[in-house]
């Protein structure tokens, strides 16, 4: 019915066939995350895996050790539920944690089975102690990493003949080192470094436990080959583990919809095709986004929010302006204001549309969901004040004129506030709140005539308190204390950017033609 009438309109040239892209509502995903049966299934699979691992070994009394493993599992679930509710709530996260831990145990078991005990104690050095801790620490944060360290160590200790105290301690220490070294990992190379240190730690521990025998302390023949083999095994295992983890991370990020800091830094790439287009077609907007990124990143790092997210999202927050760049003040060429010929409602419509156009472009280019959220929320439900005031002014003028012309007041159209408001929603997370403030502060700072510290201070605190009063920051978790810190860093960063330079002497006679060589280059290089 609706479809056919639309087709008719399109034929008559009155409607457009284009459909605006919308973020897909992944209903099945939401239901999957909350379903208790899925969680039960994950636990079931894990217990089954544990049973297979323990019963397949050379345990003299596997049932006893399986019972121990099962009891440890009960504490693991309880611990996850109490200490890591944000992980426990989502089935995909629970699956990730127990999946990775099970994988770690399987690898450990395989390594010891394959190497056996006959070629010297080398198997215990080939276990990738850092595997699960590294993956979970990088993907879900240090707390989940430490959780992985503890439980992986407990379970691996009972996997092979009895309870292996050496293995428990080695696994614990190597794991803690790997988590400690990846607390805020921003480069992939740091992962390899962590792997190397884990290997080194394993080696030192193995030496002190006497698993690796030092040749010159030995009686009789000095077995250098075994020593070298064992040392290489210990250190290489750490490095290779880190290499495998860094290779598998992008895949895991995709499957579990988690974005690591490393990926955020890669996303904040100024050579992204959209950003290249932005700098050519809307250079003013590019510059604005660039400054907003600076402001937001510094502020976010100060309050302990994620600066990398802020930078990436800030670069893209205004890409919707690519559609009609010349209608936005930062790109308007002096004397050519296209809004002069438009009714205020029309102007507001164009301005407000940049949010939807931005979401559209972001979806087309497959940008991260967080970036799309920031595009959608960075204006909240605020008012396009300039054009609203202009509309009110025009309405007043029309009423005045109407009295003279004898037009009834009802015939003059009412200015409706909602047609001058962004559709929102309000910022939903801290980084978005910070970007929204930085955005407002940057735009306002452009109109500062002579930026003195006092003026900047007034501007920043004025904007923030206005946003609070309007309730735009109600849903983004920023506390008043954090807002105070944000205001302070904004003021500081802006002042550094806008610091007025020494006054220039007014043009003395300048020659018509002149050349300036770059004098910071030594004379030898020029001319």
């Amino acid at each position: 019915m609706f479809g056919s009438s639309r087709k008719k309109l399109v034929r008559q040239g009155l409607a457009c066939t284009k459909v605006r892209r919308k973020p897909a509502h992944k209903e099945w995903r939401r239901r999957f995350e909350a379903n208790p049966w899925v969680k039960a299934a994950i636990f079931g699979v894990f217990v089954l895996g544990l049973a297979v691992l323990i019963f397949s070994g050379e345990h003299p009394d596997p049932a006893k050790y399986f019972l121990i493993g099962l009891l440890v599992f009960v504490t693991a679930v309880a611990q996850l539920w109490i200490n890591h509710p944000e992980t426990f709530e989502k089935n995909s996260r629970v699956g990730l944690v127990f999946g990775v831990i099970l994988f770690h145990l399987v690898v450990a078991k395989l390594v010891t089975v394959v190497t056996g005990q006959d070629n010297g104690p080398i198997g215990v050095l080939l276990i990738p102690y850092a595997l699960a801790p590294l993956v979970l620490s990088v993907l879900l944060g240090k707390n989940n990493g430490i959780y992985a360290v503890i439980y992986v160590s407990l379970w691996s200790a009972i996997l092979f003949r009895g309870i292996d105290a050496f293995l428990l301690v080695m696994s614990l220490i190597s794991g803690f080192i790997s988590v400690f070294l990846t607390i805020q990992v921003r480069r992939r190379s740091r992962l390899l470094r962590a792997g190397f240190y884990v290997g080194l730690a394993t080696w030192i521990l193995a030496l002190s436990f006497g698993i690796i025998t030092i040749p010159w302390l030995q009686l009789g023949v000095m077995d250098w080959t075994l020593f070298v083999k064992q040392s290489a095994a210990a250190i290489l295992t750490g490095v290779v583990t880190a290499m495998i983890v860094s290779g598998a991370l992008p895949m895991l990020e995709g499957i579990f919809q988690i974005t690591t800091d490393m990926s955020w830094l890669e996303m904040a790439d100024r050579n992204h095709p959209l950003l290249l287009r932005l700098s050519l077609e809307a250079p003013g907007t590019w510059h604005h986004s660039d400054v907003v990124a600076d402001l937001a990143e510094v502020a976010a790092n100060k309050i302990g929010a994620n600066g990398a997210i802020c930078r990436a999202c800030a670069y893209f927050h205004d890409i919707g302006k690519l559609v009609k760049p010349n209608y936005f003040s930062e790109n308007i060429v002096e004397g050519e204001n296209p809004h002069d010929d438009l009714a205020p409602t029309m102007s507001a419509l164009i301005i407000i549309a940049h949010v939807k156009e931005g979401v559209d472009l972001a979806l087309k280019y497959g940008l991260n969901q967080r970036i799309i959220d920031v595009i959608q929320q960075h204006h909240g439900t605020s008012l396009v004040a300039y054009f609203y005031q202009r509309a009110l002014q025009q309405q007043r003028d029309a009423r005045e004129g109407g009295k003279i012309m004898n037009i009834r007041a009802e015939d003059i159209p009412e200015v409706r506030e909602e047609s001058f408001r962004y559709s929102g929603p309000k910022p939903q997370f801290k980084e978005c709140g910070i970007i929204s403030l930085a955005d407002a502060v940057e735009s306002a700072s452009r109109s500062l005539e002579k930026p003195t510290p006092q003026k900047i201070e007034q501007l920043v605190s004025g904007i923030i308190s206005k946003r609070i009063a309007e309730g735009q920051l109600d849903e983004c978790d920023l506390t008043l204390q954090e807002l105070k810190i944000i205001a302070e860093t904004f003021r500081f960063t802006l002042q550094n950017m806008l610091h007025t330079r020494i006054k220039y002497p007014k043009d003395e006679e300048r020659a018509e033609q002149e050349s300036k060589r770059l004098r910071n280059l030594p004379p030898a290089s020029a001319a």
Binding site: L280, P283, R501, E514, S515, K516, N520
Partner: protein, 136 residues
């Protein structure tokens, strides 16, 4: 915002004009965000030439022999020698693109009225230049 165009008038060295256009646009918006003593002309041309050509301009308008890296005219023309840029890029361990962009920024700052004849002006200009290069 003034309009700016990039022209390649040399064939000796290969340059990526499209990338330079993008970065020039970024540089220009960053330059315009800085306070400036004079308004730049409405139309700016950046012209890439060879060493012999820039040496000719150098001699004709400034009576100095030999090629140089960049010559700026106040009516809005910025002449840049790509060969000199490559030489200096090798010397300072930067890239050709970085050098070219640095000359463009330098020219743009001249068009905005910044001068580097005095020691103070020179230091000031260098500071702004670095700031803008970091932004592009």
């Amino acid at each position: 915002m003034p309009s700016i165009r990039l022209l390649n008038r040399q064939r000796k060295k290969r340059i990526d004009l499209q990338r330079l256009r993008i970065f020039t646009a970024r540089a220009l918006s960053a330059v315009l965000a800085e306070p400036r003593p004079a308004e730049p002309p409405g139309e700016i041309s950046v012209i890439f030439v060879s060493d012999p050509r820039i040496a000719e301009i150098h001699r004709q308008y400034m009576s100095i022999d030999g090629p140089t890296d960049v010559i700026t005219f106040h009516h809005g023309d910025i002449f840049i020698s790509v060969e000199t840029a490559e030489r200096q890029a090798r010397e300072f361990g930067t890239s050709q693109e970085h050098e070219l962009l640095l000359y463009i920024v330098h020219g743009l700052l001249h068009l905005c009225g910044l001068e580097d004849a005095s020691e103070q002006g020179f230091q000031e200009m260098r500071k702004v230049q670095e700031k803008i290069m970091a932004r592009t």
